[in-house]
């Protein structure tokens, strides 16, 4: 096993151990933190597919995180208030079933990512960064000003959605659900990057000209990666809504897009578990620095800056001593 593989197994095992240990010693809040790290890590893993493997620096993935969250919020609140989701053309009831919510979140995000990606991918580089940001802002303002789903107030899910007979309100159970989905997403991303498509995606990032001359349009490959990545992030968003039992437009804000990028870079770009490590570190830093000073974002900024300047390849790069995308 390479050092990176050992590290990956260690971080996953560590996260699980922290959650189980905290639960055993009566620290439900720590379990909650671990859940948060797992969910944000999942979003980072999803973003990494576009950003790390595809070289698509999307500054608008909060849009998909929020869409996932709203899918959960809207379906659940419709079900909890016994109001149909829509009455035309067919009457659709809401639901509190997690699998249906997850599926809805993933499909909705995919459908929205398709036109956004298709428009944004007509350009590249800095254009792409700014355009994805602007699209995310558009959705953000829509969510704030559209009154049907709470606008700025957001939507409350009073009781977590259900998964079979499990007690999802139990912090540990919910952690295990999130952790299982994290493993699933990690596995799928890993498989996809090692598949035939993964080769094409690597070429689209490293040498699009060559890919074209092989008869494959880089646009199609990138768009596929963008949409898949959006879907993974939306799944994380749906879980995040259930974690907080609440959805609001802040899930769509550009700060969150920035934080998702931070997870990826902090851990290591283009590393399967990098974003998870990044998310864990970020959650820890937030807790630790937040306890030290009101101005905790200042040292956080300094730490991030130091990572960019001096720790290329992120934490995994530091530990394994090489840079994935050098």
């Amino acid at each position: 096993m390479s050092r990176e593989t050992i590290l990956n197994v260690a971080i996953l095992a560590g996260l699980l151990a922290v959650a189980l240990g905290a639960w055993a010693s009566g620290e439900p809040f720590v379990v909650q933190l671990a859940t948060r790290a797992a969910i944000l890590g999942m979003a980072g893993v999803g973003l990494n597919l576009a950003l790390g493997y595809g070289g698509l620096v999307s500054f608008g993935h909060a849009a998909f995180f929020g869409i996932g969250g709203y899918a959960a919020g809207i379906l659940a609140s419709a079900a909890q208030n016994y109001e149909p989701l829509m009455t035309w053309p067919v009457e659709l009831p809401g639901t509190t079933s997690m699998p249906i919510i997850w599926l809805t979140a993933v499909i909705a995000a995919g459908l929205i990512a398709l036109p956004i990606g298709a428009l944004s991918l007509r350009t590249g580089g800095v254009h792409f960064i700014m355009i994805t940001l602007a699209f995310a802002q558009m959705i953000y303002y829509f969510a704030i000003s559209w009154p049907a789903y709470g606008g700025e107030d957001g939507l409350s899910i009073y009781v977590r959605n259900s998964l079979g007979t499990l007690d999802t309100m139990s912090p540990l159970t919910f952690f295990l659900i999130a952790f299982a989905l994290l493993l699933l997403v990690l596995g799928l991303v890993l498989v996809a990057t090692r598949s035939r498509f993964g080769l094409a995606l690597a070429m689209a990032r490293q040498n699009p000209l060559r890919l074209t001359s092989m008869g494959v349009r880089p646009f199609n490959v990138r768009l596929t990666a963008f949409v898949l990545s959006a879907m993974a992030v939306a799944l994380a968003g749906a879980l995040y809504a259930d974690l907080n039992r609440f959805v609001s437009p802040t899930m769509l804000s550009w700060h969150l897009s920035g934080e998702l990028i931070v997870f990826v870079i902090l851990g290591g770009v283009g590393r399967p578990c990098g974003p998870l490590i990044g998310a864990c570190i970020y959650v820890l830093l937030e807790q630790w620095l937040g306890g030290l000073t009101d101005y905790w974002q200042f040292p956080l900024g300094v730490i991030l800056l130091l990572v960019v300047l001096f720790a290329r390849g992120g934490v995994i790069g530091l530990v394994t001593g090489r840079n994935a995308n050098a």
Partner: protein, 250 residues
């Protein structure tokens, strides 16, 4: 003579006031190497880019196997059998040599959008790619990251990828560039055989190689073809001698 597989009719392309391609007409027949020579800035690379569809000509047309391909984009043209090699080798530096070629095999098979099966377990794909790597003489270096290959080896990798596409026509932009004398010699032998696989439109500066390889030569000066003919014709052509060869021959 059989019909040409590739035919370029009256191609024109301007960049501002500069006419980079000025009414070029060319053709390529099965089994031949047609060399395109000319001084720097004559518009050779621009012409290649128009043939592969990277840039659009202002006027003129291109026929492939008797069908116009002007409306096809670069990826489409690659898919119907126009394979291109670049002056500067275009590879994925972070992938191993064999992975680079595997992608070309996938692309030719039209099976790129497969998400689940790891390529490392796709033995057919690996075997096919290895065969092309061997053909290009790079079999020993299959597992090396492309970034770590030497200049010459990258050129070989470039050819392995082109071969893996099983094209109907090769368009080669200065394949000898940067090779050692020994390397050029081996490349010459390789290309000489390759013409039986598919005809080659060869842009090249190395006159020794061109004269050794070419069945026909076209001379491009200021965006215009001033002469087309066999090696002997071109050597004998006074216009070519003054416009181009003269300087070098002297």
């Amino acid at each position: 003579m059989p019909k040409p597989i590739l035919r370029i009719n009256g191609l024109e392309k301007s960049f501002g006031a500069l006419k980079a391609t000025n009414g070029v007409t060319l053709d390529l027949y099965p089994g031949e190497i047609h060399a395109l020579i000319g001084p720097n800035g004559a518009g050779k690379s621009t012409l290649i880019k128009q043939i592969v569809g990277e840039i659009r000509p202002d006027a003129g047309s291109i026929d492939f196997e008797g069908q116009p391909i002007d409306r096809l984009d670069a990826a489409d043209r690659a898919r119907i059998g126009l394979a291109r090699t670049f002056q500067v080798s275009q590879i994925a530096p972070e992938l191993s040599a064999v992975r680079n070629v595997m992608l070309a095999v996938e692309a030719r098979e039209g099976r790129v959008f497969r998400f689940f099966r790891p390529v490392s377990r796709d033995l057919d794909l690996i075997a096919a790619a290895m065969a092309f790597l061997h053909d290009a003489g790079l079999g020993e270096r299959a597992a090396i990251h492309a970034a770590d290959l030497s200049h010459g080896e990258r050129r070989q990798l470039e050819f392995a990828m082109a071969l893996a596409l099983k094209p109907k026509v090769f368009l080669m932009d200065e394949p000898m560039a940067g090779l050692s004398p020994d390397g050029s010699k081996r490349m010459t032998a390789f290309l000489s055989e390759l013409r039986h696989t598919a005809p080659i439109l060869l842009v090249e500066h190395d006159m020794e190689a061109v004269f050794a390889l070419a069945d026909r030569i076209s001379v491009l000066v200021y965006g215009q073809v001033i002469a087309t003919g066999t090696v002997a014709d071109i050597r004998a052509n006074p216009e070519v001698r003054t416009a181009y060869l003269g300087d070098e021959a002297a």
